[in-house]
Symmetry: none
Subunit: 401 residues, 2 copies
Amino acid sequence: MVSLDLIREISRSSASKIVLLVIDGLGGLPKPETGKTELETARTPNLDNLAAKGICGRCDPVAPGITPGSAPGHLALFGYDPVSCIIGRGVLEALGIDFELAPEDVAARGNFCTLDERGLVTDRRAGRISTEKNAELCRLLDGQLIDGVKVIVRPVKEHRLVVVFRGQGLAAEVTDSDPQQIGVAPNEVSALKRPANRTANITRRFIARAREILTRHHPANMLLLRGFSKKPELPTMAEVFKLKAAAIASYPVYRGLAKVVGMEILETGNTFEDELETLKQNYLSYDYFFIHIKETDAAAEDGDFDRKVALIEQIDSILASLIDLEPDVIVVTGDHSTPALLKGHSWHPVPVLLFSKWCRPDKVSQFSESACLSGGLGCFPATQLMPLAMANALKLNKFGA
Amino acid sequence: MVSLDLIREISRSSASKIVLLVIDGLGGLPKPETGKTELETARTPNLDNLAAKGICGRCDPVAPGITPGSAPGHLALFGYDPVSCIIGRGVLEALGIDFELAPEDVAARGNFCTLDERGLVTDRRAGRISTEKNAELCRLLDGQLIDGVKVIVRPVKEHRLVVVFRGQGLAAEVTDSDPQQIGVAPNEVSALKRPANRTANITRRFIARAREILTRHHPANMLLLRGFSKKPELPTMAEVFKLKAAAIASYPVYRGLAKVVGMEILETGNTFEDELETLKQNYLSYDYFFIHIKETDAAAEDGDFDRKVALIEQIDSILASLIDLEPDVIVVTGDHSTPALLKGHSWHPVPVLLFSKWCRPDKVSQFSESACLSGGLGCFPATQLMPLAMANALKLNKFGA
């Protein structure tokens, strides 16, 4: 991988525009009955047309055999080494609700949960309480001051919340209280390293108070915390790539990931159509757009092959309005594969399509896992995608004399 | 990339011979009217025949998306990491005129230029004065002693010259005086790091004296300096690969690059035919030959698709005399792509052909970008080419027990 320092040295700002369309969990596995993956089953004339005019290949988000979470999957697509740039769950969740994390903040992802009279977890999601109830409970917990540390509590959705500890000298190296199973008591938070002792102590005191406050609010009579983390300090895309980058994503966590690398977050609706409308409205104001579509991954995680196929067809059918904007570079790929057959993220390389006036086209005329096998981009680490997109947008100067 | 230390450990000297033919800027982009690149358009029976019997692929000189200058492009082909081995413009220019740089020398590339009465640059090339006039002016500037440092001034070609500062304790970290544009005054040379303060000072004094000396020589009434650099200390090809390596290149800068890795420079003429004659005459004395052809790159930089095609055909037509020598390994590639459509170096992978008795042939029967897509070498970093050539020449011992 070429270092971000090298890219920073040769990148240049220009009027050309790059659009990265991430179809979450795009890659799949063939259905035994047909021998075709979700993408191969879907009728995708627009994607096929782009593939025919562009260059295709496959990328490994992290490395061959490694199944990535959403964070490494996206960081790699943004050009950042997903192994050295670790983003904790708490930070992601906080960024996803547009919470402005200070550099010293420690954030944890929380669930409201149900404890029985013996103190054992009976439901890790407290019966998926409403987001309104969640907000009401968060107000009860928010704003405590413990040993000079302010504890900020914010609702996310249904049973999910974010807890941010704000103060001097906090450390994120503490264990989760969430046992990730039912029938056991929450774990006691403890320090993984000595400098985190105080943070662990404050967290334990906060959890104890929360239990008291929540005791009358069955089924949400307790909370579980996990993924304690601080925001990583990454150079922004403006610094590295000299891009004015914007993110269009309906799901919080993807907005959060975009924010970590300094993208501006554009308000948008819940559908891909909404996202394309947002793209249109903001097209002149940025030179890089990251557009995220979540539903394909969700369908595949549910094991619903056909729904994923239908969603891909639907995406394809409205892709023309993106193509009509004539971005200099269009990249279509996923942050990882999610084969419906596996009902989860997988390690399989993700199909990649890059279209630009300056790409050297290959013979691929269909956007699919098997067609991409013979693509001109070969199989490559996803971190190479940004330099390639930048090159095809003529945004990289020559390296060396 | 396998380290040079590992190669040094397993390389062995033998009678077998390797010829690396670098067709500068070889890779291209398809002409929209035909869908064929320069190489695909050219009729190349000899190259196709070699491709059919050999193994093909594509290489990235530096990394995907990175457009290399000539120096990184060639260093990679010679097996050296082009990112860590940086060669400055000044050093390149000095080596290219067969100037023997001492390890402590600081070299700068110079242009004679024209200043108007206000001291602003009106022509960065002083009307491209003749090489004879250049030599005459260099003699006026040469040999000054400033603060114990000898300033050596040598003509290159037309308006170009080399200035070498020779003395103790010099540092290359100084800024260019060449503003790279007209209508402005030359920049004042300043130190980028404190140890370069004295060098910057000496350079400023030299430039001031040069201005006085040149004042009556309009249009060449001033000089501009850039690319201050010292010769990098690289292990030679003899040390790493145990090769007796020779370079045959009609253009100075490529001879200079070959010299940096310790090749011997063979005197040759201006044409590929001259170069092949030089190869024949010296064939018994060396076991590695680097042959460089510049014209293809020049044609593509001019945007002249057809001239590049014609040059490739011409190269192919006289290739038989190289093949007839029956080298054990023939490698044909470029140091980078230069598509006529882009009129400049580009990031596109470069087609590679490796012919040897011991290669495992693939199905490629034409030497072209698209045919190389399915070549047995795949797409690989150009630094891997030397180990591959060495292996195919049976010049690498087994690694490990």
